[in-house]
């Protein structure tokens, strides 16, 4: 496959398909609340959720973990999802983005412009360094090698990554199928998985993390329809976030260290995507006043719970802990701000975590 075509196919599977997968869940929201950030974040959650629910049955019930079958079924489901989104949009005559928004000149404010430029400069620098610097981590000998093994053998978790000896499935790690997701993108684009992991994954997942923080900023400042160009609070927030990311390597344990040096490992996505999304859901629910917003948060949590297991078995556990405890805090906030004195919000936040609970049960049964 020519290099440009490989790059295009890789872009489709790393960015295009995940982002477009967010259309269906975002249709729950009124058009003016559908931000690009929400589309991307929700889309990636749908995409990962789909991969996990396809991958686990294939891993458990096929001979040697039939990766070709997983790829086929996953791609078919992605296509179905995208057609479904188009079908619903046509049926509801919903163009997704309000017409007024497409043609409107973006609002700007001088200080916000300066700060956005500073943020963009920092982001460009980080992405450039991610692409041009190699980061050594011993765990890559496990996780990246799993992707290469699957890519070369079309099996899943049947060989020890360190030496190549055949083995029984190690369920402590196998249910977290993120290396298989990387292998799928590599297979589809005929690109070496280690290139996908080390060179391209950071270019996708660092901006994805930043989109979550942008939505957190919007929630904190109640600036849902504002952009970084027009609201200096948002751009200032993001400049500080970028600075913390750049200077957060105080130890090997911080989320920032994982984000810049181990972006392609599931643990990094736990720290920099799953848990921030959990916090985002708490903030959204604390301020949701319309029933569509509440429904969207419940759907968001359901997708997050289902997707979290893709990254590490610890993700569903920490997510459940964070949201269960956090929902009590949210209930307190809503009680204070709206006078709402019922526990409905607890069920709206806790019940959607069911996929995470099922994952954990499966994990402990199989371990």
């Amino acid at each position: 496959m020519p290099a440009l075509l490989k790059l295009t196919v890789l872009f489709i599977w790393l960015v295009g398909v995940p982002v477009l997968s967010g259309i269906l869940p975002c249709l729950i929201l009124p058009a003016e609340k559908r931000t690009f950030a929400r589309l991307c974040i929700t889309g990636f959650l749908v995409h990962f959720f789909l991969f996990e629910v396809t991958g686990i049955p294939v891993l458990l019930f096929t001979w040697l973990g039939d990766f070709a079958l997983l790829s086929l079924v996953f791609e078919a489901l992605c296509a179905l999802l995208l057609f479904g989104a188009v079908f619903v949009m046509v049926k509801k005559r919903d163009g997704f983005v309000p017409d007024a928004k497409i043609w409107k000149k973006p609002e700007t404010e001088p200080t916000a412009l300066i700060l956005t430029a500073a943020f963009a400069g920092l982001l460009f620098f980080v992405l450039y360094m991610s692409y041009t610097r190699a980061s050594f981590d011993g765990d890559d000998a496990y996780y990246v090698t799993q992707s290469v093994l699957t890519w070369q053998t079309e099996t899943m978790y049947r060989y020890l990554p360190y030496t190549g000896i055949t083995t029984e499935v190690d369920f402590r790690h196998a249910l977290a199928m993120f290396p298989m997701w990387i292998a799928h993108a590599a297979r589809a684009s005929q690109t070496h998985p280690t290139i996908v992991a080390h060179s391209f994954i950071p270019l996708v997942f660092i901006p994805l993390t930043l989109l979550v923080y942008l939505e957190i900023a919007r929630a904190l400042f109640s600036a849902q329809n504002r952009t970084m160009l027009s609201d200096r609070r948002l751009s200032a927030f993001m400049v500080i976030v970028m600075t913390l990311i750049l200077f957060g390597n105080t130890s090997i344990y911080t989320p920032e260290t994982f984000l810049l040096t181990r972006t392609w490992q599931g643990k990094s996505l736990l720290a920099n995507f799953v848990l921030p999304c959990g916090m985002l859901a708490l903030l959204w629910m604390a301020q949701a006043r319309e029933k569509e917003e509440r429904r969207f948060v419940s759907v968001f949590l359901f997708l997050l719970a289902g997707a979290s297991g893709l990254f590490t078995s610890m993700a569903p556990a920490l997510l459940i802990a964070l949201v269960c405890a956090g929902s009590l805090a949210v209930m307190g906030v809503r009680w204070k701000e709206t006078g709402e004195k019922n526990v409905r919000v607890l069920w709206e936040m806790i019940l959607p975590l069911l996929p995470a609970a099922i994952y954990l049960i499966l994990f402990f049964v199989l371990r």
Partner: protein, 267 residues
């Protein structure tokens, strides 16, 4: 409790970011901008922190997953968002205070100045990621040492198309070989690099645990492992010659000798 505090100390190292977080959290609680931020960024993380420090939590966690990953519970506290939010509130406060005396000054001056101070503080109190010794210029798009790729390509070219090649590589390469190709199986891998895992391996013992390699003993270990190829660092002293024990020296490549034993069948 001592173990928990030492985990916290390791997390923070000797920098100040946890201190900034504590200051930001206290600032939010003092400012009380709105209930949402006070509760979700202020009180709730304090509850998480109390849970983190609680010895019973540590005991339960240790039984489930071991103490080495306990620090990940701290990830539930939204440190980045809290510090960023507090910084912006500080900037807004400065703007509000200076509004009356602003005159002809650019309207966003205070915001930019306060943010600059915050950035300088964070840069001084943190640690610049790209100074990390484990981050080096990438030699290729795989971000693997080019030497490893060259050695693997050479071995595969000598393996008569086999996709099941048993080889022994020096310890400085074992992390990388199978990130490039899993057609090469290793006599020992990363499991030997982590002492606390307690693995033993005769090939590793002969290749890596001695200052001078004993060619006869190494060959014995390699043969027992059915190792068709072996890569040795040319700078490492060797007593005897592997050639005497069936291993033909093929090439010196990027400072490494590659040997092959034709008598070991291809898998």
């Amino acid at each position: 409790m001592r173990e928990i505090l030492s985990i916290l100390q390791l997390y923070n190292a000797d920098r100040w970011l946890l201190l900034f977080y504590a200051a930001a959290l206290l600032f939010l609680l003092w400012k009380r901008k709105d209930t949402k931020s006070v509760v979700l960024l202020g009180i709730f993380p304090l509850v998480i922190f109390a849970f983190f420090l609680f010895p019973v939590s540590f005991t339960i966690y240790r039984k489930l997953d071991g103490p080495e990953t306990y620090y990940r519970l701290a990830w539930m506290m939204p440190m980045t968002a809290t510090i960023a939010y507090a910084s912006v509130l500080l900037a807004q406060q400065a703007e509000k205070t200076a509004k009356e005396g602003r005159g002809k000054r650019f309207e966003g001056t205070e915001t930019i100045l306060v943010l600059l101070v915050c950035v300088i503080l964070i840069a001084s109190g943190g640690r610049y990621t790209y100074n990390n010794i484990h981050i080096t210029p990438a030699e290729n798009r795989l971000h693997l040492p080019q030497t490893v790729i060259n050695l693997c390509d050479y071995i595969e070219s000598q393996a008569d198309g086999s996709r099941n090649i048993q080889a022994a590589f020096p310890s400085e390469h074992v992390h990388y070989v199978r990130q490039y190709t899993t057609h090469i199986r290793l006599s020992f891998g990363r499991e030997m690099m982590v002492e606390r895992w307690g693995f033993e391996n005769p090939v590793y013992a002969e290749m890596e645990e001695k200052e001078t390699i004993d060619a006869e003993k190494l060959a014995e270990a390699l043969l027992a492992d059915e190792c068709r190829f072996v890569v040795l660092n040319a700078a490492k002293p060797i007593d005897g010659a592997l050639e005497e024990y069936g291993y033909e020296k093929l090439v010196l490549l990027d400072g490494y000798y590659v040997y092959k034993n034709e008598d070991i069948p291809i898998a």
